[in-house]
Amino acid sequence: MKPRKDLLTIGSLSTEDINTILDSATAMKDIFTKSVKKVPALKGKSVLTLFYEPSTRTRSSFEVAAHRLSADVTTFTVSTSSVVKGESVHDTIDTLMSMKMDYIIVRHKHSGIPAVIARHCKAAVINAGDGAHAHPSQAFLDAFTIREKYGTVAGKRVVIIGDILHSRVARSTSCILRRLGAEVAYMGPGPLVPLQQHSGIPRFTNWDQIFDWKPDVIYLLRVQNERMDTPFFPAGDYHQAFGVTEERLARIDDLNLSIMHPGPVNRGVEICDAAMDYRNTLINDQVENGIAARMSILYHLTPQTQQHD
């Protein structure tokens, strides 16, 4: 893979690059089975996690990945107060530049912030989720999990269910899966599935249509009430209308479909308790694969902090 500084979106990668990162993730996952679960690849490098939005999962996944590559990890706590005070991203960038970080992993509620940071930093910037825009490391771990389960992504059918409008996961994961030859469909409440804005992705309105489509993977999104100041749909209906209920689980079991979810799950909303223990629920694999995928991403990026100019 040609040297590249940042990972901001899946769309910016060639299909070859995507495959390279996935292949390396397989090798990274093998490291977990050794007695020494650590390699010296990023020894002496510094990794900063800069999260403007709370996310224990993604942040710790990146931190574990960085530790396993022997990097030094710093957690930059962005207090909500400094955001309220109106510290601009540029001021934060100046601070980061002074810290001489090699990798910056950033999450922000505004779409496009990682790109702004990447433009002004020599460090390799990894987008760990920006607004409703992109979440490329999640896309890699999802593609990796499907590839691991089925041997290939090409030809698989994946239906993504839930809040497409607010979901960076839906955007990035559908992008990587389609690039790798999978078919993707969306289903969700009307106001949360923007129409005519994503070409080539069919939209379903109920589970019968989904089953008729014969998918391989049911990908559930988290209902993100925290992103909605004004409700988008009636609060009580979601599970019955769009969730994996026990009846639907029986059908999913019959058809031997897999269930995925980026976490954290709302039990009883997108998914029933029983589905969490279903034999083809890949949610825990996704978590483990997330570390491997993020190690591979860190490994393949090239910060410009070493270059003298």
Binding site: T20, I21, D23, S24, A27, P40, T302
Partner: protein, 172 residues
């Protein structure tokens, strides 16, 4: 201009296997050949087949040492990693590291670091197909099939049937 064709390579491997058979302990499960990816793994497999023909059993392992390199910052393309294959503990074994070309010694250093994360072998030896000189580290192969004192800017490329479709060593 191929320096060495298929026949010469086969002959070199025969001598190499004979050397291993003559010098390494061949007791029950004691010997393992660990190839350094890429090419080293293929060479190790060929050697193991030759040893098997002599009635000597050697275990096979392969190492991708990319994650142990010390030249990680270089502005070059990073190929996809390959999985290391070492499905046994190396405790107490006699290991033979098999590499295609030894030059600076940095790959070998990385391989040594990697290998010690799989256990504590009794002995580690370094065998290589080509030693082209130009060492930067205090590392010396225990066995060299072919010695070439090449200037630093010369290109030596090893091609093998398994990965490149034909056997040859190019020296340009």
């Amino acid at each position: 201009m191929p320096t060495l064709g298929q026949d010469a390579l086969e002959a070199a491997l025969d001598d190499w296997a004979a050397h291993i058979a003559a010098t390494c302990p061949t007791g029950e499960g004691k010997l393992a050949l660990i190839g350094v990816i890429s090419h080293g793994d293929n060479l190790a497999q060929r050697l193991i087949r030759r040893l098997a023909a002599k009635g000597i059993q050697a275990r096979y392992g392969a190492l991708d040492i990319s994650l142990y390199r010390d030249d990680f910052d270089m502005k070059q393309s990073k190929p996809a990693l390959r999985s290391s294959y070492l499905p046994f503990s190396t405790d107490g074994l006699h290991l033979v590291l098999v590499d295609d070309v030894v030059q600076t010694g940095r790959t070998v250093r990385a391989a040594l670091n990697a290998i010690f994360e799989y256990g504590r072998p009794d002995v580690v030896q370094l065998h290589c197909l080509v030693d082209r000189g130009g060492r930067q580290l205090p590392i010396c192969p225990d066995y060299t099939a072919l010695r070439l004192d090449a200037p630093a800017n010369a290109r030596i490329s090893v091609r093998l049937q398994e990965t490149d479709g034909r056997d040859e060593i190019l020296y340009t």
